[in-house]
Symmetry: C2
Subunit: 463 residues, 2 copies
């Protein structure tokens, strides 16, 4: 029996214990956004510290202005093969309202059947306590069977992910040396479907900007000023209309600098995905893809940048009518970024684009709302190849390189502060109801998730 096989056997033999561990973990009501649950967050952090120490991984809960940050390092410091890794997950969970929509107590976990599938029911079962334990239980099996892990492992387990991670940046900056490793393993993502192993290799970045156009120095009556007085809604509409051409391409200068087309391999993989454009749009009442022409919906969503208008306001917006020419109108704009697009340069170019269209007697005020680059792992990045192969071994199916339309800020921060690339492997499913009532995690996600990590650790140690 190979080293890996005995670890997998140990995992299978102790699955009930792993489930019991997850149940215990879920019972801590670690809702980070609600101050009433501060003590519960602390208890969850302390519990996980105890578990890690119990298997020979030295763990400590660090105080922060918010909730504790758990940092752990394998106590076995002997020379290891392969890359050193920092595993990231979070122990805090989303609030549970509206509580009346839960079928049972969110903090009293159970295994139930849902559509013929065994699932672990409870808040945090998927996001992110279950996902966190897939990795820790894999480590436990290694330690129990061999007394050591195949590669050098550290962990960073956060307690504020669901409340904006206010302590994370200062913590990363203060612990650069302790946390910087060859590679980050992040377990907070989903699989394409319940049978297809998936690594998220593309995340879109984001740059947010608020633009306020100011015309007259006060609101004007349209009877007394309509005609000669500049109307900021009209000016803003012209600017916004100019931001896309008729093919949906964004017109900010140099916007597409750093955007790469998919490689033929990934393109072929994506084209073969059972992703139904029509169904995806029909679900929200639409039928015509509104992104750049020439790209599939899945590509528009995961591999193409956007420029979206998230909110607009100006003048009288209450009930009825008021014949006012407003002094101001403003819009919140956010661009989703991919590849190597530079959020700071795009912000600058967006501002220039607006200014170039502003009448001389009007003003513009800009306010920035965040900026982070996209993330993409090259398909020939060695750990990615090894991880994909390990997952294929477990799931008996080719691993998909997935895109994700949204952002995971930690990935950008690991790169910019700690100089690490992140490999995002997760076993959640779209129907896990994360952030909603009746959250669950498939028992298969949990079990095969643990086995998957055992395989990945093994694979990373090999040449």
């Amino acid at each position: 029996m190979s080293q890996l096989d005995s670890v997998l056997a140990q995992i299978d033999a102790n699955l009930d214990r792993s489930i019991e561990k997850l149940f215990t973990f879920i019972r801590f009501k670690s809702i980070s956004t609600d101050p009433d649950f501060k003590e519960e967050c602390k208890k969850a952090a302390d519990w996980i510290v105890g578990e890690l120490n119990g298997i020979g991984i030295d763990a400590k809960a660090h105080e922060t202005p918010g909730h504790p940050m758990v940092v752990a390092h394998d106590s076995d410091t002997s020379e290891k093969a392969g890359p050193s890794v920092l595993f990231y997950a979070h122990y805090d969970v989303q609030p549970i309202d509206p509580i009346e929509l839960w079928e049972r107590d969110p903090f009293d976990p159970q295994i139930i059947e849902r559509n013929g599938v065994k699932v672990i029911f409870g808040r945090g079962s998927s996001d992110d306590k279950g996902q966190m334990l897939t990795f820790i239980e894999a480590c436990r099996a290694y330690k129990e069977v061999h007394g050591s892990l195949p590669i050098a492992v550290s962990l960073l387990l956060e307690g504020e992910e669901e409340s904006g991670s206010p302590s994370l940046l200062p913590f990363l900056n203060a612990h650069k040396d302790e946390l910087s490793r060859d590679l980050a393993l992040v377990c907070d993502t989903a699989m394409f479907d319940s049978e297809t192993p998936s690594i998220t290799t593309m995340l879109r970045g984001l740059v947010g900007e608020e633009v306020t156009i100011i015309a007259a120095n006060r609101d004007l009556h349209s009877g007394s000023y309509g005609g000669p007085a500049a109307n900021p809604i009209r000016i803003l509409s012209h600017i916004l209309a100019d931001l896309h051409d008729e093919t949906g391409r964004v017109q900010i200068p140099d916007f597409y600098e750093g955007v790469e087309e998919l490689t033929p391999d990934v393109k072929a993989q994506w084209d073969a995905l059972p992703f139904d454009d029509k169904e995806f749009l029909a679900d929200v009442g639409l039928s015509i893809p509104a992104g750049e022409t020439g790209y599939s919906v899945y590509e528009q969503l995961n591999a193409r940048p956007t420029c979206e208008f998230n909110g607009i306001t100006g003048g009288y917006t209450g009930a009825g009518f008021k014949t006012v020419i407003p002094s101001k109108a403003s819009v919140k704009i956010s661009c989703r970024l991919v590849g190597k697009q530079d959020p700071y340069k795009i912000r600058e170019n967006l501002r220039a684009f607006v200014k170039a269209r502003l009448p001389e007697d009007c003003e513009v005020v800009f306010a920035e709302h965040g900026a982070g680059p996209g993330h993409s792992l090259s398909a020939d990045f060695p750990p990615l190849k090894k991880g994909a192969a390990a997952l294929k071994d477990e799931w008996n199916k080719d691993t998909i390189m997935m895109g994700m339309g949204g952002s995971i800020p930690i990935v950008g921060e690991f790169k910019s502060i700690l100089g690490m690339d992140s490999m995002l492997v997760g076993f959640a499913l779209e129907n896990d109801n994360i952030h909603s009532p009746n959250e669950k995690y498939d028992l298969q996600s949990y079990h095969k998730g643990i086995r998957s990590w055992a395989r990945i650790l093994d694979a990373l140690a090999k040449d």
Copy 2:
């Protein structure tokens, strides 16, 4: 001494009494919009009924669901020369908040000096109690000197003008025969300046429309849907941007149907007005006329139609940022109309314009907010010529044919329901602070206003 001269002498001799009448009238707190002052409105109506009956004009206060409508007819029904007229003014006044900005009690009228000019201070002194009494005091003088008026006079005195005139339309419809005369005389407008007699011959009409674009069936996360999902703010911006060309011309089909250029005479008169484009715009912090190129600011304001955006809203408009793709975005649009533009046709064409630009998988909802045509009197309309000559005699200066950018709904309703044209003669000044604290009416406006009406009644009676 001519008949007119003796009337003018009577007016001068009794000016103090006329002032005392106005003071009494101002003391009624006839704020129509505030239910607390319902009784005060009734008292004001009853007082004016008493005054009219006192001079031999049979008056009656008609009950309405709101405040009383005073209708009066000269009791002298002998055959008269010239056109029969319906004089219109309103006895209700604007609220007085913010009260702390008033220099003295708004309902305790006084004559004070302001910049070396004697003014009557008090709420309603100008808008519209003072203006109403200019006509009634002229009638009083005629009745006292000659026992009769030179033409057939009726009056309609409203008590809801400052609160949207809810009872007016049903009242006009119910009293068509009683109110329909050859000509309406409306006294609720201003002079170009304190020395220049003015008749407002152009009023802009209005059509108001609210347009709501609906894309997805719910708000979407821009990470999960950004790209393929239609963004209603983007769609709306394109529509709004298309509504004007680069010269400021409105692009709704057939929009300019019924718009007439100024006659050379009026154009020459307007070009000679001491109206300073720069100063007008600088006062509100602007410097570049934003209306149709090729027209002066005064023309853009008074003789040209517009299409204005009065309010826009969609998506997240609170503090901070939310990366939402909204389901809806809406705009309130109003067009100021001139000449013979048809508000109903324009509404229809605007809706077609929007629909033509709507993606097939999106919806639009329209809501109408009022429609009224513009008003313009031809320069060779006989009563207008006579009125202008009479005013010139009083003020020793050519009478200006003024435009007014706003709307006076009563003028359209007199035309459409009673088939009457309106001649708008008023003596208010721009600095009268109507609708604001410290309202006043120049003593000269009042005195020469009374004399002006005496001259106009005389002139209308002559061939």
